[in-house]
């Protein structure tokens, strides 16, 4: 109990130090100037989006195999958290676009693909709210999540690399090299770790509530 509280306060200090480092330690990138700082929020959100949708598909597959509603709850939680991360990545990307290209939205291939991804997972959440029966909702949404995740690599990694894009070269690019300055990478990976911890915490809170709801349903 005490250890968990210390870890939580440690996370707060970690994120505060990361914020200070993003402003005072990491250098500004050439041509990006102050917009460089958006990177430390935008890239972790994009990576967490992909990871969360992947985890949602994994737990959906587990549900289809074992027919355990706990697996379905885990799949739903990760899809919702992925959707939150996707919205935050889109918003931070739009702020970056406004500063760089003068407009919040340019229908760039990367912006279009993230918009499609948002629609696909918003449909997943809508599907879940539209069905009352637990087993039926779990089966249908698990099948949908497995099909939906197939679009993620296509929309995130393939489409933006086929067409001309205003988006800067991704950190892990087609040449498989990192072009960031060392201090920028330190702040970026610290930010990624902090965000992963926050999303894990959110997942635990959500799961606790979902398990309580399931236990209540079984008791009836």
């Amino acid at each position: 109990m005490m250890t968990k509280t210390i870890l939580k306060f440690g996370l707060l200090i970690w994120m505060l130090v990361m914020t200070v480092a993003a402003f005072l330690y990491a250098p500004l990138a050439e041509k990006l100037f102050e917009l460089t700082r958006v990177i430390y929020w935008h890239i972790p959100m994009s990576w967490i989006t992909v990871a969360a949708f992947g985890l949602s598909a994994y737990w959906s597959l587990m549900y289809l195999r074992r027919h355990d509603l706990v697996d379905d709850a885990k799949a739903a939680i990760w899809a919702e958290l992925g959707l939150i991360a996707c919205v935050l990545a889109t918003v931070s990307g739009s702020i970056f676009a406004k500063g760089m290209w003068g407009s919040y939205w340019n229908w760039d291939p990367r912006e279009t693909s993230i918009f499609l991804l948002l629609l696909i997972y918003a449909a997943y959440v809508t599907l879940r709210t539209a069905i009352d029966d637990d087993e039926r909702r779990a089966s249908l949404s698990a099948t949908y999540a497995v099909v939906a995740v197939a679009t993620v690599p296509f929309l995130i990694f393939i489409v933006p690399r086929i067409y001309f894009s205003l988006h800067p070269d991704p950190l892990i690019n087609s040449k498989g090299r990192q072009f960031m300055e060392y201090r920028m990478r330190v702040v970026l990976y610290s930010s990624l770790l902090g965000f992963m911890a926050i999303f894990w915490w959110l997942y635990r809170i959500h799961l606790r509530l979902a398990l309580a709801r399931l236990a209540q349903g079984r008791a009836r």
Binding site: L12, M15, T19, F23, L24, E34, G102, I198, L211
Partner: protein, 60 residues
């Protein structure tokens, strides 16, 4: 063509940022940093509250 004339809106934003006085930039950076840190404290307090409520619901 004169290189110092911005050719696009994005260029003009960058030129504008680069031409700000150092004291203005530092002051603006500290304000934005302070706001970002306040947001983190707010998010943390909200998560702590959610954590506590979820534990109470799970117990009941």
């Amino acid at each position: 063509m004169n290189d110092s004339i911005p050719q696009s809106l994005a260029d003009s934003v960058n030129v504008g940022l680069a031409h700000r006085a150092l004291s203005d930039r530092v002051q603006a950076d500290y304000i934005v940093m302070a706001v970002a840190m306040l947001v983190w404290v707010g998010v943390f307090l909200y998560l702590m509250r959610l954590d506590k409520i979820s534990k109470e619901i799970a117990k009941s």
